[in-house]
């Protein structure tokens, strides 16, 4: 993780849409002394086919391991440049898009210096983020102080990484992608591609644990005012809270009033994300306590449908109310609305169910949309491992209570938020269950097979040898029995597929557990009691 990165940074003119207001050469020069930025270039149109080819060429020829494009909104071209990375055999998630058009040049056409400085800051932030991409830790690694001990996410991850380092039986591959799986339960052969390189690492594994996590819900433009200045998602808000000290500010201005709108992107009507993400109430309440601890005078309004701070998180809910947070419950069918006010604030209008459906309008400096979890896009892995996906898009275990981390694919376990929304401690619990289950399989040292193998009725066998030729496992051989050549099946070698059963013209082969008599009796019994 300490190894030197090789990043490519491309700053787009957008034919003047950016470069008329942002000094793109200055942005480029900001990286000339960064040894980890191997390529820094400006380009007339980053999205043009020719430029995309140049990027691919640079990635391959200069062995880049990360890509940053400063251009328009990721909503427009994130997929385009993830595609560029993918075509250059670079992990598409080693790509970061920086929005220096909608959020710099166009927003500040009246302030070229300000727009340029802001753009440099945004691109620096993206470069810093990309450099850290292959670290272990996921979402947790980016969290500040956590409940209940105040340890930061990074500290917690660092402790675990240090412990992993002391155990020689654990090998960590970051920026690695599973590209193939063959073999069978207890004896899988996997191929892993690291840093997008051509050659793959082949490993024999007994079990596989999938813990690929979640993505945060991205509101649609205009959904609860998303896209307006001052309207943030929960992860965006948490990042601001965790990256600063003292009284909270937003874009240089002190934050006096915050309105939280709960259940954004979750508990939607049929056809949407109908589930509850479980962690978001607690995470929001916790963030509001952090804000209040830094500045007790901040007004905080929590607009919710229910508060689900279950278990010990209830203590945080109490503390937040004691610190002055106000909780307003709105009816399920009447969500709040967010609008800009004449004085440049944002205002939330909500129907307060607990005061006789009175309509209240709250002017705020910040509106935080409490966004829940959504399944991560991971279709390659899903199809590679044949992982079962539920109606909500998360991976399905065999049974949530009885076999909570096993999948229908023998030896392949799932853990954490890839199974469905979970709090951090619930993810840890499912992770422990998955490794315990894996250890149970591995420490046994062998995989038990069913004794349900094929057998030959030697009296009926005519020794035609058709079955011998049909078995791909060479489980059938000819022996001499009472002077006649007959087929014999090795119980140790037979896989129990039954493929030889219908091949035998004499009906001399039976698969134990599925014999001719058993199958016929079962079929007859299905219809024995007619539906009346």
């Amino acid at each position: 993780m300490s190894e030197q990165r090789r990043l490519g940074v491309y700053i787009c003119h957008c034919g003047g849409n950016i470069s008329d207001y942002v000094d793109v050469e200055m942005v480029k020069d900001a990286f000339k002394d960064d040894p980890e930025v191997v390529v820094a270039e400006t380009t007339m149109f980053a999205c043009a086919d020719g430029t995309q080819h140049e990027m691919i060429r640079d990635i391959k020829e200069k062995h880049l391991d990360g890509l940053v494009v400063a251009s328009c909104s990721p909503k427009l071209h994130q997929i385009t440049f993830r595609g560029v990375a993918k075509r250059a055999d670079l992990n598409p998630y080693q790509y970061t898009q920086v929005n220096v058009r909608e959020q710099a040049s166009w927003a500040h056409t009246d302030d070229h210096v300000g727009a340029t400085e802001k753009a440099i800051g945004l691109v620096r932030a993206a470069v810093a983020k990309t450099k850290l991409s292959p670290e272990l830790g996921g979402w947790v690694g980016g969290l500040g102080a956590m409940f209940p001990h105040g340890t930061s996410g990074r500290e917690q991850i660092d402790l675990l990484v240090a412990e992993i380092a002391t155990r020689p039986s654990i090998t960590v591959l970051t920026d690695a992608e599973l590209v193939s799986k063959s073999g069978s339960f207890g004896n899988y052969v996997t191929e892993v591609r690291i840093h997008g390189q051509e050659e793959v690492v082949t490993t024999d594994v007994g079990t596989i644990v999938v813990a690929t996590g979640f993505d945060s819900y991205e509101p649609e433009a205009g959904e609860f005012g998303y896209g307006m200045e001052g309207v943030l998602t929960l992860p965006e808000f948490m990042a601001i809270v965790d990256s600063s000290d003292g009284p909270l500010t937003y874009q240089g201005k002190p934050v006096r009033t915050i309105a939280y709108v709960y259940c954004v992107g979750n508990r939607q009507p049929a056809g949407g994300n109908e589930y509850c993400s479980k962690f978001c109430c607690s995470a929001t309440v916790h963030a509001s306590i952090k804000v209040a601890a830094r500045d007790a005078a901040v007004h905080q309004y929590h607009l919710h449908r229910d508060i689900r701070t279950y278990g010990k998180y209830e203590l945080m809910y109490t503390e937040s109310r004691e610190r002055g947070s106000v909780y307003l419950r709105f009816p399920d069918d009447t969500p709040p609305s967010v609008a800009r006010t004449a004085d440049g604030h944002v205002a939330v209008t909500v129907v307060d169910a607990l005061t006789g459906n009175e309509e209240l309008t709250i002017p705020a400096d910040l509106v935080v949309l409490v966004t829940g979890m959504v399944p991560r896009e991971n279709s390659d892995l899903t199809s590679l491992l044949k992982l079962p996906v539920g109606g909500d898009g998360f991976y399905n275990e065999i049974h949530p209570k009885l076999r909570p981390v096993e999948t229908v694919v023998a030896g392949v376990m799932i853990a954490g938020a890839c199974q469905g929304p979970k709090t951090l401690s619930e993810s840890v619990a499912s992770g422990l269950a998955a490794v315990t289950q894996s250890a149970g399989i591995l420490m046994k040292g062998f995989a038990e097979l069913d004794p349900l193998v094929a057998t030959v009725d030697t009296a009926a066998c005519t020794g035609c040898t058709t079955c011998v030729e049909t078995c791909p496992y060479d489980a059938i051989s000819m022996i001499t029995c009472e002077g006649a050549a007959v087929a014999a099946i090795s119980a140790a070698v037979c896989k129990g597929c039954g493929g030889c059963v219908p091949i035998c013209a004499q009906d001399a082969i039976d698969l134990l557990g599925y014999t001719d008599a058993q199958m016929r009796a079962s079929i007859e019994s299905l219809t024995k009691e007619p539906v009346s």
Partner: protein
């Protein structure tokens, strides 16, 4: 509760042969997700569809079933790489036996159903049930 069969008069009885490792988990998933199909569809699981005897299929029709559906593994079978070809041969042989008994070959269908093919399975069952309802019950010699 009154079953669908009682309400509509005829609900075809379908026997599905599934495979332990691949199509049966897919059929389980349909149930786990509460995706509905006719209750007159019953499944019998075997290790591999290549092990089905054509005679068993005929026996199913003789026992009063109106349709047989083989939910095979396709290319995914861990036991036999040529599973799909072997199963196709079994289907052809069963079709011959069925013709000899005056049974319409459409009453036997085969399709690959994978371990996550919950929706495709339910759709197959709806389509097959509809087709068999149109065809009516098996009329076979005693």
């Amino acid at each position: 509760m009154v079953s669908t069969a009682t309400v509509t008069g005829f609900s075809p009885r379908i026997l599905v042969f599934s495979t332990n490792n691949i199509s049966d988990p897919g059929i389980d998933l349909a149930g786990s997700r509460h995706l509905h199909y006719s209750a007159t569809v019953s499944t019998m699981s075997v290790p591999c569809s290549s092990g089905l005897k054509p005679g068993w299929i005929l026996h199913a029709f003789e026992s009063g079933l109106d349709g047989v559906f083989i939910a095979s593994d396709g290319e995914e079978c861990a036991l036999l790489p040529d599973c799909a070809e072997r199963t196709s041969r079994i289907v052809s042989q069963a079709h011959e036996l069925m013709r000899a008994k005056g049974l319409e070959p459409q009453r036997l269908k085969m399709a690959a159903v994978c371990s996550v093919c919950a929706e495709p399975f339910v759709n197959y069952m709806r389509e097959f049930s509809q087709m068999l309802t149109t065809m009516g019950p098996v009329t076979h010699a005693p």
